[in-house]
Symmetry: D2
Subunit: 261 residues, 4 copies
């Protein structure tokens, strides 16, 4: 059975800006989904901000193995309830790949617990993405670096937690550097942040970038059954302990109403 991927696109610039529409006539999400579908092991569909529940209903998310997220102009327009729903599914084991300006998305900030801020410049400069963790599954099939002739600059400090793995680091023509490929785990879910992908450049048409996206979907996929109790405080009373145990010591008067944990 193929990995079910959903490419979530904010889909704003594509509707309002001719430059973007020319590069991505069907939307960036459509281009990304098409790139994923070149891998027979992946079955990618799309969802956008404008759909009911942003296209991310409980049912849809329950059937999603890996979610990709691109947003920029409308982070605040994403409903908090949907963000919580996505976070919950990541905890349960759904993979999440956050793309480019998605660094400031509600979902990445929530899952990392950090502001995810950075320096930036839109000047069409050259970016060279160096492969740091060479034999990592996400880097499979790449050379020593990916060169993008025109990209937006993101510069350090990138205020995220120290990652589980640093896969890529970028060099920029204007003099900055950036950790461009970072992995995290939250609950049972694997998270990958991938830097490039500014809307006014054809980055998602680049063969190496597309390869990274396919690799990342395979890497983020967790075949285990969803961990549905991941957020539950679970009481293990005396009588159900692994070792024989006699209750002792003082306790709260109103035990019945005791909060979990």
């Amino acid at each position: 059975m193929p990995i079910k991927a959903v490419v979530w696109g904010e889909n704003v610039h594509e509707q309002t800006d001719e430059v973007v529409r020319e590069i991505y006539p069907d939307g960036m999400h459509a281009t990304i989904a098409a790139a994923l579908n070149q891998d027979k092991a992946i079955e990618a569909t799309t969802a956008t901000l404008q759909e009911p529940e942003h296209g991310l209903t409980e049912k849809r998310l329950a059937a999603t193995d890996v979610l990709l997220w691109w947003g920029h102009a409308a982070h605040d327009a994403v409903d908090d309830a949907i963000v919580e729903r996505v976070q919950r599914r990541v905890w349960e084991g759904m993979g999440l790949i956050v793309l480019h300006s998605g660094h400031f998305s509600k979902i990445l900030r929530r899952l990392t617990g950090t502001p995810c801020a950075l320096k930036w410049r839109e000047a069409g400069e050259r970016e060279r993405i160096w492969v740091v963790n060479r034999n990592h599954p996400i880097a499979e099939g790449l050379g020593e670096c990916i060169e993008l002739e025109h990209e937006e600059m993101y510069g350090e400090p990138f205020t995220v937690p120290e990652p589980m793995e640093t896969v890529f680091i970028s060099w920029f023509e204007g003099g900055e550097v950036f950790r461009s490929g970072l992995t995290y785990q939250r609950g049972a879910g694997r998270i990958f942040y991938f830097r490039p992908g500014h809307e006014t450049y054809p980055t998602y048409h680049n063969a190496d970038v597309q390869k990274v996206l396919r690799n990342a979907v395979r890497w983020a996929y967790n075949p285990a059954k969803p961990w549905t109790t991941v957020a539950d405080g679970i009481n293990v009373p005396v009588g159900k302990t692994k070792e024989p145990l006699v209750e002792k010591g003082p306790k709260l008067n109103s035990h019945a109403k005791k909060p979990a944990g």
Copy 2:
């Protein structure tokens, strides 16, 4: 100048439960603050849920180096705006020490991005907290373990991110284990989670527990100036680049309204 520590106490059980009041007649927060003040390098005061703004005004937090957090029955009663304020200060460099049932506090869940769930049992059983990272500053002056005759059990899996450092791991009489001392960094702020401290036992009167709290305050203290721009997307335009750079490539039509990053 001493380290300014604020001990935040939910202060509910102390008001409603005789068992707790007997052990902590002035509140758990008062006992903890007194323990900290035994160290001349620390100046500890208290704040509680019931005070205006939970005792954590902008001004108070700006003057706080390290915040300690104990909560249990009333996590939901903590105002989201105050939680965001605390999170912001941690990002800027304020230390945070989360105690016992504070694992389910809004602030720890926000800063870790995880549910922070666990197994639990209130049976007054024996806990043995093993020192895993022996010469870590937080373990200074301890023996190989701390024994607590009566404690609430917390059991793995503890759904938090893999920590920066594992300082303590607990053994429980009923058969469980738990990572009882974990460190994290978020922005410029250091975070320490310390497990023991159930309200119906005299844990915060234990000399070793008090030593850990003092050590942790010293460890979490960041003398650097607050990182006030930690959450800002900072534009570095052409003309202000480190390397000479000529603008090129396409850009959004409506550049003036471009969102940060």
Copy 3:
């Protein structure tokens, strides 16, 4: 093509001790290899200390995807040249699974850079291995814990580096705890340390333990081509730079003899 696993056994206790021989008549390595071969995706063979080059010739190692290592009484008898050879292959991408008393093996100490010391007791006590990272591939198919009625105790502090992932933590009847499943990466190679497996108990006949071993082989397998230059200092001279560069500044007189890096 199946994953090629080699189970390396020290094979000393099996030859000299009746108790061990009764439990593992063909050697522990044979029992482990048979357990791995229950998975059609794995093709496991064995090697022992007593064979020429300990059964780990250059050719054999070059054809090995994942190496499992059990040693105890004869760590010092392992040839340093073979240890270096194994280390080199791990750097290139071969997976390594170190078992039980292999904690003190030359290979684990070399790859972690630490003494890998611990407390121990051979008293046949009960061990309960808790699953901490529940949906990790190595924990696939397990319940919340593995119970072993008789095992040797290993106690913290286990002097290893903070791991990439903490998969298991053990509880012992005598009162200790231990991080029983830890992952690392060195170069392109993934490493897993798995605690249980004392020679006088039938641990490797346990169905859950066997499952962990199979899972770990699949997890440690890196399908990428060996990273043969992983240890090389690679010169990138002017003329071969990614950006145009003019040589400048002073340099060593005797440039020709300049050491790498």
Copy 4:
């Protein structure tokens, strides 16, 4: 009492190369030690390859809090017994700061368990060291980056383990990037690798570089008593257990000769 730092210099280029001698007439180690001694909290002395036992006797190391290491042309000339002695002291709690071409030193390779290889080019190009972890103690007092007009290039992939913290990342004029400030812990010892410092450039005269070195010495200093048993397998026999325990199960015939662990 001040922190006792020893700056170990290979002291080869200074003796054989006029270019180096002009920049560092008393040796690089002397320049570095003088920079450290500007901090009243530090008392720095030097040691060199040419001295008996390379200047690192048991007695000297026992009295050393933090060791700095610069080597390049003569890594192989360092006696393995001295390397083991240094490693042992790091495990016990001595801080270690490895400088520039020390990346290929025996001691860093041993402590990380990796080849520590990289790309390199001696072309006097511009290096810009970006501060990634802004309020880290090692970055105290720095601006957003350090600029060095002439440096040797080191490029990724740098084959070291994922660090505890990434403090600095460098940008190079020729198009490469490098993780220039990385922290590790091994046993009780803290380790910092700091990239710049090629012998033919005046890098150690740079005020910011000197500041980093002083900060790093303070950070790496562990005031705890040396962990002298860090490498010992410690037996905890029945009768000395924390919990009452009855010996059971089979055991090796020749128990008396049982190896540790």
